[in-house]
Symmetry: C2
Subunit: 160 residues, 2 copies
Amino acid sequence: MVDIQEVKRLRINFKTLEEFENFREYGLQELSMKEDLQGNIIDNDSESPFYGVYYGDKLVGRMSLYKVDAKYDRYFEPPQEYFELWKLEVLEPYKGRGFGKQLVDYAKSLGLPLKTNARQRSDTFWERMGFEPLTYDTDRDRGENPYVWFPQGVKEQKPE
Amino acid sequence: MVDIQEVKRLRINFKTLEEFENFREYGLQELSMKEDLQGNIIDNDSESPFYGVYYGDKLVGRMSLYKVDAKYDRYFEPPQEYFELWKLEVLEPYKGRGFGKQLVDYAKSLGLPLKTNARQRSDTFWERMGFEPLTYDTDRDRGENPYVWFPQGVKEQKPE
């Protein structure tokens, strides 16, 4: 019986980066972290914007949270600091077991509003997670599919 | 024998919007166009940021091009107007027949630099299209995978 573990903030080291290679959304960000580590530009076990869930000792899900300053907030009323949630992904054989929800619940527990881009018809997933679509604004959204989660007392910012 | 046609700028009407429903990247942008059309906020056959290729009378591929003003250019040197290329997608049964390349070639023919976010390990496709990865910049790219196409005389803008 393998224990399901808590969501953890991932530290950048060669083991984590090797595990990242299993994910579809692997790209320049991960390659750049690897180069920085190899070149000693960042230390082993540096903080990263990634959070993950392990099943046994295998990383089976991850997401990235990027904190945006209140002065750039175009989504929430009152304008405030919020998290952009990206690269939420659970490895194929581990889907449907609640790992995605575990990650999203963790993000909510941080207390800030959340904003994501619901891609490839993932709307129903985000709605199950308590997210809502925003009113589409051509200039702001430019093709994105903005879904947000509001903590209590926060609502949608109306486009100017 | 069905003729392969030229790339066309798509006009917003109920037929186009119905065809958009076949694509995976269908979301708030398309729903908002539909509402605007239904509410007579936009006219039938209005211009759209979408370009498409037809096979016979079926829309089998599309992309969106969004022109960005030179003052917001953080990718190219000298800084200039460029296109963000999004939502490039060819319907599954029509893949591997050059429709994607036809769309990208059209985008290049407009003469401005192009920038895209190469998602889900599509790097090799973009490289075949003549695109190059940029040096990852955490603040600018925030998890994106920026690939660009340089017209002659244009190069990468170095991060500040």
